[in-house]
């Protein structure tokens, strides 16, 4: 493997990791606070991608630069509408019941959304690459790469990482969320409305998934099944990092992204194997994840 390929692999890995991080961190946040594995997370990603593509294709003829806010708008619409619906009408009625029922109801939501996606957008691949094409290429150590993938995506991922950290640790709302996560009854005793906290957290997590999808849409063709693939991958990343660990998820996403990128160039048959093999090995040794705490739930 020569140095050009190595650099290419690194850049592939970084841009891939950025997208995976956005989706995984939302999943991790939702689990950390609500203790729910949101199986519909992959569908939120897919819907974000499809709606982002729809908006982007619609607005590109008017002004190509508007495709960026269009992608953001799509994520927020999906996050608030779909995410809000799922939390309010599917998860909230089950609060206090067995975890597996909450997981299964999100699985039902996934089935419904997966079907809706095919009904609304069809099964033919969709291409909406304008946001990617608009930005120039850059040279990184002599290798040409799209700045969308190597600057914008990691940029958004880092902004999300630091934004979440700041939000959770420095703002009052963040403190409220951490309080509810730590001890729901005690927070109720001091007047915190856990229901609102769960709703807001879920919508944030859902919006992040949708944002991941919207930002991914210019880089790939959208096909049915992208949601199913992404949910299990993002879960693997989040679980390997330790559910609820934000910084850990970023590092794990990066690690998996880079490993996968190198494996694609060296031994492509094992590309899909990497995240799951890693998950098995990590969970066998550290069931709470690489960065998971044994005792206290941390986000």
């Amino acid at each position: 493997m020569n140095s050009t390929l190595a650099i290419l692999a690194i850049l592939d890995g970084i841009s891939y990791a950025a997208l995976v991080f956005l989706v995984s961190v939302g999943l991790s946040l939702i689990f950390g606070v609500l203790r729910v594995v949101n199986v519909a997370h992959g569908s939120l990603y897919a819907f974000g991608a499809y709606l982002g593509a729809t908006f982007s294709l619609a607005i590109a003829p008017i002004s190509p630069w508007l495709t960026y806010p269009a992608l953001l708008a799509a994520s927020i619409v999906i996050g608030v509408v779909c995410g809000g619906f799922i939390e309010r009408f599917l998860l909230r009625p089950l609060s206090g019941q067995e975890d597996v029922l909450q997981l299964l109801i999100t699985f039902a939501a996934f089935m419904i959304m997966d079907n809706l996606q095919r009904l609304i957008w069809g099964v033919q691949p969709i291409f909406a690459a304008e946001p990617l094409r608009l930005l120039p290429n850059v040279a990184v150590f002599g290798v040409s790469y799209t700045s969308y993938q190597v600057i914008l995506l990691p940029g958004v991922a880092l902004a999300t990482l630091f934004g979440l950290r700041y939000f959770l640790r420095r703002t009052l709302s963040g403190a409220v969320i951490l309080a509810v996560t730590e001890d729901r009854e005690a927070s109720a005793a001091i007047g915190i409305d856990a229901k609102r906290v769960y709703f807001v957290t879920f919508v944030i997590g859902a919006s992040l998934a949708a944002l991941g999808g919207a930002l991914a849409s210019p880089t790939t063709s959208l096909v049915p099944g992208m949601g199913a693939d992404m949910i299990v991958l993002s879960f693997a990343v989040a679980a390997t990092a330790g559910l609820g660990q934000i910084e850990g998820t970023a590092l794990t996403a990066l690690m998996i992204g880079l490993t996968r990128a190198f494996v694609i160039y060296l031994q492509p048959e094992f590309e899909v194997l990497v995240p799951y093999l890693l998950m098995v090995l990590v969970l066998l040794v550290r069931p709470f994840g690489l960065f998971g705490a044994m005792q206290v739930r941390k986000i």
Partner: protein, 318 residues
């Protein structure tokens, strides 16, 4: 127990009779019921683990193992016999279940679920990408095997495989019920209610769970072999997480309190898929998703639970 027959047993008997007789009247039902029975067998395994309070989100790996055992035999050895396929599928799945089980029974709850998922996705990724051996995403065709030396026309074969599935389903159903009534079955349930106490009685909870796990893997594999023969194909999707989810879905849909729940759930699942595919084109997932939501919100004990509640109301309740 007294001579009183439980209502669930009656329904089970009716169901098995309908499976035997119905397809003779409606030929399109032969494959439908064969699939229901085969999937019901897999879900028996899920229900077994649910008794211990554990949910496996990776059972597709045993389903796929059973299916690909038949497929590999057909591809690399040629020919094949239903009895041989089922025996091999069951054995390889049980062995695989023992190996994976030795690792996973050390964990509980979400960790058990996650680890099972991880193992199954490792298998899936190998099936999907080791193109040279597995033919990748297209899967491997499984030509119709003989039964004890006899070959059949396609029209007859669908009945042959139906009755083989029915026989195995009845035996498995009976076997699982006896297991759940036995000391090992009760100990399995004890893991859910008070694992510490079980250990304090001198019994290894891990060993009890492992035995249950291997049995459930065995059932999963046999179901997979049957489905591969029925659909004449084995694809990597048999091992994908959505397939594992489908089995858990069916268990909750039918009701996990009784062994028959697997068949009840599979019947509803496959009937909706069959008829929606025919009449409502590509909305069966939507319908099933809504059905599951309704069940979870209003009848979390599944279809069986509905029946038991209704039965109790008739008897005057408690």
């Amino acid at each position: 127990m007294s001579g009183r027959i439980k209502p669930v047993t009656t329904i089970a008997v009716i169901f098995f009779l309908v499976s035997a007789v119905g397809p003779l009247l409606v030929s399109s039902w032969a494959t439908l019921f064969a699939l229901i029975l085969a999937k019901g067998i897999v879900v028996l395994g899920i229900i077994l683990l649910l008794q211990a309070g554990q949910v496996s989100f990776g059972h597709a790996m045993f389903f796929a193992t059973g299916a690909y055992t038949a497929a590999f035999w057909g591809k690399y050895v040629g020919g094949g016999d239903i009895v041989l396929f089922i025996a091999l599928g069951g054995i390889t799945s049980a062995v695989f279940g023992l190996i994976v089980g030795l690792f996973v029974v050390r964990y509980r709850e979400i960790f058990f679920g996650m680890l099972n998922l991880a193992f199954s996705m490792v298998l899936w990724s190998l099936l999907e990408k080791m193109f040279h051996y597995t033919n990748g995403a297209d899967g491997i065709r499984v030509p119709r095997p003989a039964l004890l030396g006899l070959s059949f026309t396609p029209e007859t074969f669908q009945y042959v495989i139906l009755y083989v599935s029915l026989l195995i389903a009845v035996v498995a159903f009976y076997g699982v019920q006896r297991y759940l009534d036995s000391p090992l079955g009760h100990m399995l349930r004890a893991i859910k209610s008070n694992e510490t106490r079980l250990e304090y009685l001198g019994t290894s909870a891990r060993r009890v769970l492992l035995i249950g796990y291997v049995i459930s893997a065995f059932l999963g594999g046999i179901g997979g072999t049957l489905v591969a023969i029925i659909q004449q194909i084995a694809t990597p999707e048999f091992g994908f997480w959505t397939k594992s989810g489908e089995f858990v879905f069916i268990a909750i849909l039918g009701g996990s309190a009784h062994a028959f729940g697997g068949f009840a759930g599979a019947a509803m699942f496959e009937c909706v898929r069959f008829y929606a595919a025919a009449h409502l084109a590509d909305t069966w997932q939507l319908i099933l998703g809504v059905v599951l939501i309704v069940i979870i919100l209003y009848a979390p004990n599944g279809l069986i639970g509905l029946r038991q509640r209704y039965g109790q109301a008739k008897q005057g309740g408690h």
